[in-house]
């Protein structure tokens, strides 16, 4: 469904993406992980056509990303930070989206579960960060897209809403959709992901399905499995230790080997 061929992108001196090639197909729930500044958001933005890669090509459903913007009809995107025009009312935002897509709201599941119609008359500027995040989530799922791209979806959501969102992702997964998620909260991804894509310094370190990873590392939990793999990578281990709090002894023993 998404085919990425040898894309590279440089921002001034920073190599944000370095010759990345990967293929995502339907039914996959891909967890994009990597330290801050590893190129996750740049990769997502390249797929959405917001960032123009220096070289390489991206195809979404065999349509090149650099051409006609109509391919974005198949994509639902939830940004990391959702900011909307201050004086626009919530209801107006949903109205506008409907007019832009020229389609009725087909999937109002999240809309009602998050109880968004109750705040239709409120201007955007009065909403809290978490509520805005809920609005972003409802918008992403609204037109029943076959590809979902969620950038840090659970950041800022309360536990109850996080659960609702996870359930929804679970449900969409069964509909054989392609779902791309970036998150720092690995426990959130645990039950959802089928594939893991690990980026570091703009390079693709690996792209594997979860079971293979479990077998290779002998760990059942996602965070442990990734920590185990990452211990092989010297530059990553510091970040990984910090994140998963791997026992320092383990690291020392590894080094002795």
């Amino acid at each position: 469904m998404i085919r990425i061929e040898e894309i590279s992108k440089k921002f001034r001196r920073l190599q944000a993406l370095d010759h990345i090639s990967v293929r995502f197909t339907e039914g996959q729930v891909v967890a994009l992980i990597g330290p801050n500044g590893s190129g996750k958001t740049t990769l997502i933005k390249s797929v959405l056509g917001m960032v123009r890669p220096d070289s390489g090509r991206i195809f979404v459903k065999d349509q090149p990303v650099s051409g006609d913007p109509s391919y974005r009809e198949h994509i639902g995107y939830m940004p990391q930070i959702g900011r909307y025009p201050d004086n626009m009312k919530v209801g107006q935002l949903f109205d506008m989206m409907q007019k832009i897509r020229n389609r009725e709201h087909t999937d109002t599941d999240l809309l009602y579960k998050f109880n968004i119609p109750a705040i239709y008359e409120k201007p955007m500027r009065t909403l809290s960060g978490g509520t805005r995040q809920k609005v972003s989530a409802a918008l992403a799922f609204l037109f029943d897209p076959s590809i979902l791209i969620l950038d840090e979806p659970t950041a800022g959501l309360d536990p109850l809403s996080t659960e609702i969102l996870k359930e929804k992702i679970q449900k969409e997964k069964k509909k054989n959709k392609l779902i791309l998620i970036t998150s720092h909260v690995l426990s959130d991804l645990e039950e959802l992901t089928t594939h893991i894509m690990y980026l570091q310094d703009g390079k693709l370190q690996f792209f594997k399905d979860f079971e293979t990873l479990q077998e290779e590392t002998g760990e059942l939990r996602l965070s442990k499995a990734i920590a185990r793999v990452m211990q092989g990578f010297e530059p990553a281990s510091e970040w990984i230790d910090e994140l998963f709090d791997v026992h320092p002894k383990g690291k020392q023993q590894d080094k002795k080997k």
Binding site: P69, Y71, Y77, I81, R83, P85, D86, N87, M96, I100
Partner: protein
């Protein structure tokens, strides 16, 4: 495209700065016409306000609006919409709201108190300046990713067009005062939309007699149909070229 502009317009019209701007213009216009018994004197004072305040507000408001809408523009980019469409809708929304502020704030009092040729020239110039400086601000804000730098540059441009340019023109005229400069000053006026607007209105006000030979030449030129066409054409260029440049760099930009 109109679908999107409509919502941008909804948002800006309820913006406090735009409301304050409208009320400010309304207050100034009414007090000018109330205080001066001679309506052409009031028009002259109003002209000064229009030439200084309009470009400043257009530049600064557009720049701030662009940076505040950055995430919203990103969200629009994730929708099946072309970049040209998105930027043009934003432009149309900002432009229309600033224009309606001007028409309510200055247009209504002018139509009430002095609906003559000068009044209409004033309204034409004000509308043209709003459109021109909105275009320029769009170009500069698309070009720089940093908000502070964008606003700084907008202010610098305002200083240049409203103040520095006149100084430079005077300096040039003084330095070459031995040569016939009349035609040349016509060209110079085209290089600054504020100057062009000022000359265009002044010549409608019968004060050109005070400006000697140059004034007579100007009157000859700007008073004729060619002059009106010339002014409209140059203003159009001033609006379209920056907008085209903005679209060009927005299409290539990384968000």
């Amino acid at each position: 495209m109109l679908k999107l502009s409509r919502y941008v317009l909804y948002d800006i019209l309820r913006n406090k700065i735009v409301i304050a701007y409208t009320l400010f213009l309304l207050l100034v216009s009414f007090s000018m016409f109330r205080m001066e018994d001679n309506s052409s004197k009031a028009q002259l004072s109003l002209l000064t306000i229009v030439l200084i305040v309009l470009p400043l507000v257009s530049l600064v408001f557009t720049t701030i609006h662009y940076y505040n809408s950055y995430e919203f523009i990103e969200l629009m980019l994730s929708q099946p919409l072309s970049r040209t469409k998105i930027l043009l809708s934003e432009y149309a929304g900002v432009c229309l709201s600033l224009l309606s502020a001007f028409w309510i704030g200055v247009g209504v009092p002018v139509l009430l108190f002095s609906a003559d040729a000068t009044g209409f020239a004033l309204l034409f110039t004000g509308s043209a300046l709003t459109i021109v400086f909105t275009s320029i601000a769009f170009y500069t804000s698309v070009r720089s990713k940093d908000k502070a730098r964008g606003i700084g540059f907008a202010l610098l441009l305002w200083f240049y067009f409203a103040l520095i340019y006149d100084g430079l023109v005077l300096l040039t005229l003084y330095a070459f005062s031995d040569y016939p400069m009349e035609k040349f000053t016509l060209l110079l006026s085209a290089l600054n939309p504020i100057d062009l607007g000022r000359i265009f209105i002044m010549l409608k006000m019968d004060i050109s007699v005070l400006m000697g030979y140059t004034g007579a030449l100007y009157k000859d030129f700007f008073g004729s149909g060619t002059g009106v066409l010339f002014t409209t054409g140059i203003m159009l260029l001033w609006a379209l070229i920056p907008l085209w440049l903005a679209l060009r760099s927005f299409r290539r930009k990384d968000m």
